[in-house]
Amino acid sequence: MLQRTIKLAWYKRNRYALTVVAIGLSVAFIVSTLLLTTSIADVGDPLNQSYAELDAAVSGPSVSAGDGPIAGISAPVPERVVDAINAAGFEAVGFSSPYAQVIDAGGNAGGQVQAAANIAEPWLGSSVLNGFAVVDGAPPSGLGEMALDQTTADGAGLSVGDTVTYVTDRGPQQADLVGIVSFGGANNDPYVSTVLLDASDPLFTVVAGHDYVLVAGDASAAEVTAAVSALGAVNGLTVESGPAWIAGEIEQLNSFLGFFETFLTVFAVIAVVVGMLIVTNTFTVSLAQRTQELALLRLVGTTRRQLMSQVVIEALLLGLAGTALGTGVGLIGVSAMGAFLDVLGLSIERSNAIAYSAIAIGAIVGIGVTVVAAVLPARKATGVAPIEALRTSEVEPPSAGRRRQVLVLITSLLGLAALVFGSAQGDILYAGIGIGVLFLALYLGGEYLIRATARVARPFLSLAGPTGGLASRNLERNAGRTAAAASALMIGVSLISFFTLMAATIGQFIAGDSADAITADYVVQGVGNPPGPVLNDELLIRLESVDGVATVAPTRLTTVTPVTEAEVSRPGPGDGVLGVAMADIDELQAVFDFEVVAGSLADVGGSSVVVDEATAESLSVGVGQPLAVTALAGSVDLQVVAVVASSLPGQPQPAIVGDVELADVVGYTEPATLAYVKATTSQAVLTNAVGIPTIDVLSTDDYVASLGSNLDTILALVYALLAVAVVIALVGIANTVSLAISERVGEIAAVRAAGASRRQIFWSLISEFGLLALVGVVSGVAFAWVAAASFFRALSGGQISYPETDMLSGLLIIVGGMLGGVLAAWLPSRSASRANLLDVLKAE
């Protein structure tokens, strides 16, 4: 039995080759996406290990929570708290984590450039609170010496004995690299690039206070925590037990990674769906051939049971072959994806452990779906009386029944209703459900869409000759079989379109209309991640002294949280947190065109601020009214003296703009991190004047573009993953085409015998499957637009009515998808049109 089945399957190996490839690619996509998701390293291990002795942690009250790329802000912990805890007999160390960025041999920011933070830490020696351990060389012992974590040193190409340049807020510095360190058994502190300096380094001079204070003692964590809490010095501060603090740190890191994991998981689900569609289609498309083949076996006495087990074994073989192929490719693919992430700068810390669950899911889809996809049509095929199936030379393709029509109608209506309700009410859940249900309707109704398209296209195709008409007839007739292939393409195309629309819309929202309002010529800012390098006074003076520089407007950015009952509705990152910009208001007016809606900019100063119109509306404040916020200095009452149409660009966009003294009001002590420059000088001259590799001089256009660059990185990843999905869908189409053609050799021969030339046959097939691709591509783009429109409407509470639509991109996607579809159909169509007519006639 098994032997005969293998023999039969082997006989059809050519027909099945592309099917195995299609299954394999789907499995590969699933496996590599899932592996990448599960390989995201657990950051808990190194943190738990390096802070094993930590008993308590003290931090200031939170001013604004971090969200996505925006760092949260907490009030600083004064130095006296450290002294008080030490005096009480515990060991306390304050951490301020000042900015420090290593420069590599090429003069560029090196090491973990994309680390969440590039910081310096004091070397704590034998203290139990020292999370680092020397793995090569010696620890820094005195000024002019430094150690680096392994990852940073490797990334910048530095080794012990090198003299290293690094940039801090004090400007470029130099030190000898004397040691390489590890962190809690890992190569680095998770998502942090650390420069370790002697504790006496002036960089660690305490200005306002510490970010947090870590405490170790001889007693248990609970006892130490209780004892520290009892100290008067910690009044108003938060004291956590060591394990609780570590858990919080891990959670914060994971919330960033969680976004990434969710993101990749979504793609894994897409991979599974596309894979399932392709595999299913492979079997439905060759139903007629299968029906006759199975009928023949029935005729010679095979029982239904035997037949079904043969079908199952055959599918198992195909699934196994595809899964083996796919798992192999997937294992290679995950490394390729990882390398691609590194290229993008999205360096996610990965472990090399292989998650067997990923391979198992790949196998379940590869083998399971193949078996189910093979068995369902086979059940139908074996239900026909054998002689009946043999007698009819053409098995009519299946057509969805009345029940399906009703189902499509109901799901369409339900989906539309949820979509309209969700976007009108600003309810993202309903909009999401609407999008999902509508997609289901589109999938179920794909067949009708194809039929309708075929009918609409017929007169046009007929203009190109009778074979064009034949193409539309065939498309209509076989719609039930080929719909799944169009659906697979639709998924890929609609996702690409959706993300393109999303990127354009969010980009537009971040840059805002305010981008046009910048009248500065350049923007000077650090290239590092927060806390970025500041623009110190020395540098600002250097800039101002350059010939042709009219205005330098250093701007300090922070965040506050409004104290209000009203929900602050601002789409995009930083929901609920308000950006604050502080700069000389006269200088700002020289570089930015505020469109004053109410009040006057002349009144700005001290706690009197400008608020942008959208924020004023959502907080229900107007000129002359107070605005209560939580800031570093605690609860602060600001006065709104002007409302402007749009505020400075930024991320988060500063909703509040104040004069220089506002910094004292909100308790912000850091220097400016960004300066607007109005100058007639060239970019090169200014870059030269700045003279610090980690501080960039950007043209205003480049600056505006860079605001969305985080998005671009993610988008590049999205495109790469989707491109893989689309390629798989196209392989599926190629397979569908070649199977459909192999099923139709007889009728192709008939048309040839009636006098059709090879060219006529070829174009007939290309038009047919090109039209199929068109249905998938256009419905994908249209669906994406509708989904994006309702999604953004719901998300922005109506602020965004329509997605930022770029007709050219849409056209490019449609043309690209069509080209892909036609290319996929090209080879099978060509070989079908070139087949020896006689061989085919004889074979029938």
Binding site: T392, S757, R758
Partner: protein, 255 residues
């Protein structure tokens, strides 16, 4: 009864000579495995004649027809349609020839399932973008073939006999010089095949249609003006207007 093989060499330039093979040889395979399907065959088919090519399985009768119609290429010798050597034609010219000068009828019908009966019939004319369907001829044909009320139906909705009559109409619609029929009654029962043969006979008598039919059915051969016997790739006999018994005798003699 005359059983002499045709030895006269057909003249392709003769207007009455619709199709002819001259010194035609077709070999399959190479070396030791080489099989000669037709071996130096010379034969002509005259206008308005209904010819049956008969012979046992593997005699080369089908290969003879395929080579004559340009569906297959000869190893040596010439195949003419009219005075045109088909081996000189490319795919485009052969396609045009099939749609305008030749008609085909197959055992398994070979209709296009997506097209209606009418569309199947007019396919050869439609494929030629210049030619127009001769509606009155179409009417006449479908009336004679008794498929006039089935023209809107697709092949899957027709009986076997109706399908084959659609195929006959398709072969006849361009008023071809010659119709090649390959075992046209093979898939039909005796009553429907009798009807079909009557239609073919009628086409020859009423329209002067030339038909070359490959068959191993003695009854089918008895409808023909001329029966040619093929064995081992060679012409081994010929008869005019033979009876069924004549044909059966000859077949017995050959095997």
């Amino acid at each position: 009864m005359k059983n002499t093989p045709t030895t006269t060499i057909p003249d392709p330039a003769d207007d009455d000579n619709v199709a002819s093979l001259v010194g035609a040889t077709k070999t399959f395979g190479e070396g030791d495995a080489a099989v000669t399907a037709i071996d130096d065959v010379t034969i002509g088919f005259r206008r308005g004649e209904f010819t049956a090519v008969m012979g046992p399985s593997g005699s080369g009768k089908s290969t003879l027809m395929y080579c004559q119609s340009g569906l297959d290429k000869l190893s040596s010798g010439k195949a003419y349609i009219g005075d045109v050597d088909v081996s000189t034609l490319g795919d485009q010219e052969l396609s045009v020839m099939r749609r305008s000068q030749l008609g085909f009828i197959f055992q398994s019908f070979h209709l296009v399932p997506a097209l209606t009966a009418r569309e199947n019939i007019t396919l050869p004319v439609d494929l030629d973008r210049v030619a127009q369907v001769d509606e009155s001829f179409l009417n006449e044909l479908t009336e004679v073939l008794a498929i006039q009320n089935r023209l809107g139906n697709r092949p899957s909705e027709l009986s076997g006999g109706q399908r084959q009559r659609v195929a006959v109409a398709r072969a006849m619609i361009p008023r071809p010089d010659v119709i090649f029929a390959d075992e046209p009654t093979g898939a039909l029962d005796s009553r429907t095949s009798g009807e079909l043969l009557k239609y073919l006979r009628q086409a020859v008598d009423a329209l002067g249609q030339t038909i070359v039919m490959v068959t191993h059915d003695a009854v089918a051969a008895s409808y023909c003006d001329r029966v040619v016997y093929v064995q081992d790739g060679q012409l081994v006999g010929e008869a005019r207007h033979p009876s069924v018994d004549d044909v059966l005798d000859k077949i017995r003699e050959l095997s």
